[in-house]
């Protein structure tokens, strides 16, 4: 059992630290997730991670975590000291520098370090990479390393978590970096989870009541959502069928069926045959079609921690909220038009772009819903089974997994990983901007200096246009 987290660049390293923190604090205290932690000889939890950056400061800060025995200090964990790969010079926010200069130079030491960590896994499940797309290291070097990992481990799964920068701009050349990264990763990774800074900021501001969210806040929100889908869970058969009008109703079930009487016992040990296997199960249900690999992540509830004790949760409310978030392509429930009922939304067969004035349905290739908490076994998920959400050719688009153990302090929580159209919206907005810069030849000399030329940019633009068109045609 084990997945290795590869942290790339400043964004990746900061988010991964938050991810491990969330894992340690939200999972059952006695059994830290064996998928992401291993036990050292002294009983500490060591994160299965490799930290990579082209400048030393961020990794140094991450390494300085206070260690402690998890018995005395539950939720404590640390990084292993010899799993860091750092250089001195930084990538200068330049994708070409990260890809063509640092990539080949650091490839060997990175692959060696990764191999050391992989060898520590009993049954290796795959790589979870974390990177930002706007900078230089995360995007450029990250892409190069993903390619190297794909070559070195051709049959393992790679789940890339990519941070999409604020659209109002954190880095001036982010349009280029983002498109170049996406164009490569699309064929390298098995699944790409797009985490948008815009969305995280708006969740922090509107739902969690944080007026001026910092990167730490945003990372915590993203980490919580990720943890909700990556902690252990069981498969559950979905009794719902598609909408009754259809002639050939087919049962939405998953090949690994867990029947109702295989409940987990309270100590957290799970029945092996019905466990979700990270990452292969995730990837095979969500990204079975090679042309559709972009995923978006939604989580509920999002309430300020001080209101948690005073909020009552029901599964019905959670399902409704998630369902509407999905339909609207929103991240939080403030952007939702509650009056848009399913039947009034554009009919499922027409293309999204032909409906001016109507907010189109966010259609998905597949959805994975993970429910955690009391009663998750029997929660009603029929609302996700509506046919307008999925294209006609999608087989088994809805998959549900449950875990009776609650997540942290949330009595009931639900995470939704969807392979849906909302993932390409940011890309479709970035394309015109990037074209503008490209046609003005702005900043291109910085990229050409390192071995790129016009054809690489043209190819990248074409690939991303392709991806966007494919998703919009769902």
């Amino acid at each position: 059992m084990g997945c290795v987290v590869v942290q790339l660049g400043q964004g990746g390293n900061q988010m991964a630290s938050a991810f491990f923190n969330a894992l340690a604090s939200l999972s059952h205290p006695a059994t830290a997730s064996q998928d992401f932690f291993r036990d050292s000889s002294t009983g500490e939890h060591i994160a299965r991670a490799v930290l990579i950056d082209m400048e030393p400061k961020v990794v140094a800060a991450a390494m300085k975590r206070p260690c402690g025995s998890p018995l005395s200090n539950p939720g404590s964990w640390s990084y292993s000291q010899n799993r860091q790969v750092i250089c001195d010079s930084g990538s200068g926010n330049n994708w070409a520098r990260g890809f063509y200069v640092h990539g080949p130079r650091c490839q060997d030491s990175i692959l060696d370090t990764v191999r050391l960590e992989v060898e520590e896994c009993d049954r290796f499940g795959g790589f979870v990479t974390m990177q930002s797309m706007g900078g230089g290291t995360g995007s450029g070097l990250g892409t190069y390393i993903s390619e190297a990992l794909r070559d070195e481990y051709p049959s393992t799964c790679i789940l890339s978590n990519c941070i999409w920068p604020h659209e109002s701009g954190e880095v001036i050349v982010q349009s280029y970096n983002v498109l170049l990264t996406l164009s490569y990763l699309e064929s390298l990774a098995d699944g790409i989870v797009i985490l948008q800074n815009e969305g995280l900021t708006s969740i922090c501001k509107k739902l969690l009541g944080i007026q001026r969210p910092s990167f730490d806040h945003m990372n915590e929100v993203a980490a919580e959502s990720l943890v909700s889908v990556l902690l252990p869970a069981f498969w559950r058969p979905v009794e719902a069928t598609l909408s009754p009008q259809k002639e050939n109703t087919h049962r939405l079930t998953h090949p690994i069926i867990q029947t109702g009487n295989n409940k987990p016992n309270n100590s957290g040990k799970f029945v092996a045959s019905s466990h979700i296997h990270l990452l292969s199960d995730l990837v095979s249900v969500l990204c079975a079609h090679p042309a559709y690999r972009l995923l978006s992540l939604r989580f509920t509830p999002q309430v300020p921690p001080q209101s948690l004790d005073f909020t009552t949760f029901t599964w019905g409310a959670h399902m409704k909220q998630l369902r509407h978030m999905l339909t609207m392509g929103a991240w939080g429930d403030t952007d939702i038009n509650w009056s848009a009922a399913l039947s009034t939304i554009a009919s499922s067969t027409s293309k999204v772009s032909n409906q001016p004035g109507l907010r189109p349905t966010n259609r998905s290739v597949a959805n994975l819903l993970i429910l955690r908490g009391n009663g998750s076994q029997h929660a009603d998920v029929n609302t996700f089974a509506h046919e307008s959400l999925y294209p006609i050719w999608s087989v088994d688009p809805l998959n549900v997994a449950v875990n009776e153990t609650k997540l942290g302090n949330y009595e009931m929580a639900a995470g939704l990983l969807s392979n849906c159209q909302s993932t390409v919206m940011p890309a479709s907005r970035v394309l015109p901007r990037a074209y503008g810069m490209y046609s003005a030849r702005a900043y291109l000399h910085q990229y050409f200096e390192h071995g790129m030329d016009n054809s690489s940019f043209d190819a990248a633009f074409a690939t991303v246009e392709d991806i966007v068109a494919r998703y919009l045609a769902l």
Partner: protein, 357 residues
């Protein structure tokens, strides 16, 4: 592990700014590093040597925990007359430099660019390159050269520009930042307009500063220039939530190879009294953003609202500032600036955050 910057001070003005710069750098590090260890941040500008030996023994940075013995600046000082450098060496900063780090001539350049560039440049070229090479060899991973000079005089402009060309050929991979002091309208040097024109800007980037307030003493003006340099490199030396290196500044602010002149501004110029409540602090931060785009805060005599921007980088230092402040204020201020009418330029802001110093 550390990334070093070598400072080249050329001419009277360059050396005087350098004097203030090293003073401020030492103070900054002293307030940040309270247990006197030679950490990575210090090694950007300084070396740690043991002066009990002769020649002084270099102490490598290692893990960044070794105690400070004696600090030497990573710098080369050049002037064609002895007065200013001698004053620097005999002052309280004299220990920062050893004899191998400075080059002095005898007769000065007579405020003549040609004298500096055509005569002294070639004459001292080997010596200069040798001394710089020695400094470079003492670096683990050199990030950039910073040239401090004025454009109005003879040595600073003439010899300075010659050196920039030399370095461009000798060290093509290393970035060069040039902090150039523009002469003011009522300058005391008669030939300064010629000298500034001739300044060959082969250097990669120059941050031009004019003498904004003519009747203030030179010392505080030099202090402003020195502060600017410290702020620019602070993200490289200290931790932050969104770091910006010198090469990132280059990538983001130089859209075309020839358009590599940057204008800088700072806010606040005077000491910032720590605001009380969170709301006050929030307003104070917003005020900073407004100020930094005002005409009086620019380090060159231009009016930002009347100029056209290609790109802009905002570096924030200090506690209590978050990325959302940056975004909110950028959205607010963008409307007041004329951005170049290219589709991309409306989003051309680069932000960086540095907390804790």
């Amino acid at each position: 592990m550390p990334r070093e910057i070598i400072t080249l001070q050329c001419g009277q003005c360059g050396n005087q700014i350098g004097c203030r710069f090293w003073d401020l750098a030492l103070r900054e590090h002293a307030s940040h590093n309270t247990n006197a260890t030679f950490d990575h941040a210090l090694s950007s500008f300084f070396r740690n040597v043991d002066t009990r030996h002769s020649p002084p023994l270099e102490i490598p940075t290692g893990t960044g925990n070794s105690p400070i013995r004696s600090l030497k600046a990573r710098a080369v000082l050049i002037d064609m007359e002895e007065g200013v450098i001698k004053q620097l060496i005999s002052g309280h900063l004299g220990d920062l430099f050893d004899t191998k780090q400075y080059i002095t001539g005898n007769s000065g350049s007579g405020n003549n660019w040609a004298q500096g560039h055509e005569v002294y440049g070639p004459e001292y070229a080997d010596d200069i390159l040798e001394k710089i090479r020695k400094q470079v060899e003492l670096c683990d991973s050199l990030q950039s050269f910073v040239m401090l000079h004025s454009l109005g005089g003879g040595t600073g402009s003439g010899v300075g520009s010659y050196i920039v060309e030399l370095l461009h050929d000798a060290y093509p991979q290393v970035y060069q930042f040039s902090t150039s002091i523009f002469p003011s309208v009522d300058d005391d040097v008669v030939t300064s307009p010629y000298n500034s024109q001739k300044e060959n800007t082969r250097g990669k980037h120059s941050i031009a500063k004019g003498k904004v307030k003519g009747d203030k003493p030179f010392d505080s003006m030099n202090g402003i220039a020195a502060n600017l340099l410290l702020h620019l490199t602070s993200s490289m030396r200290f931790e932050g939530s969104l770091n910006v290196d010198l090469n990132e500044i280059t990538t983001n602010l130089v859209p075309y190879p020839k358009l590599h002149f940057l204008v800088s501004s700072m806010a606040p110029h005077s000491a910032f009294s720590h605001a009380g409540s969170a709301a006050q602090q929030h307003r104070a931060i917003n005020q900073l953003f407004t100020e930094v785009f005002m005409r009086d805060n620019q380090l060159i005599k231009v009016d930002p609202t009347r100029s056209t921007y290609l790109a802009c980088a905002l570096l924030m230092r200090g506690n209590g500032c978050t990325i959302s402040d940056l975004h909110q204020n950028v959205a607010r201020i963008k409307h007041r600036l004329t951005m170049v009418s290219l589709p991309h330029a409306t989003k051309s802001f680069r932000g960086s955050l540095l907390c804790g110093t």
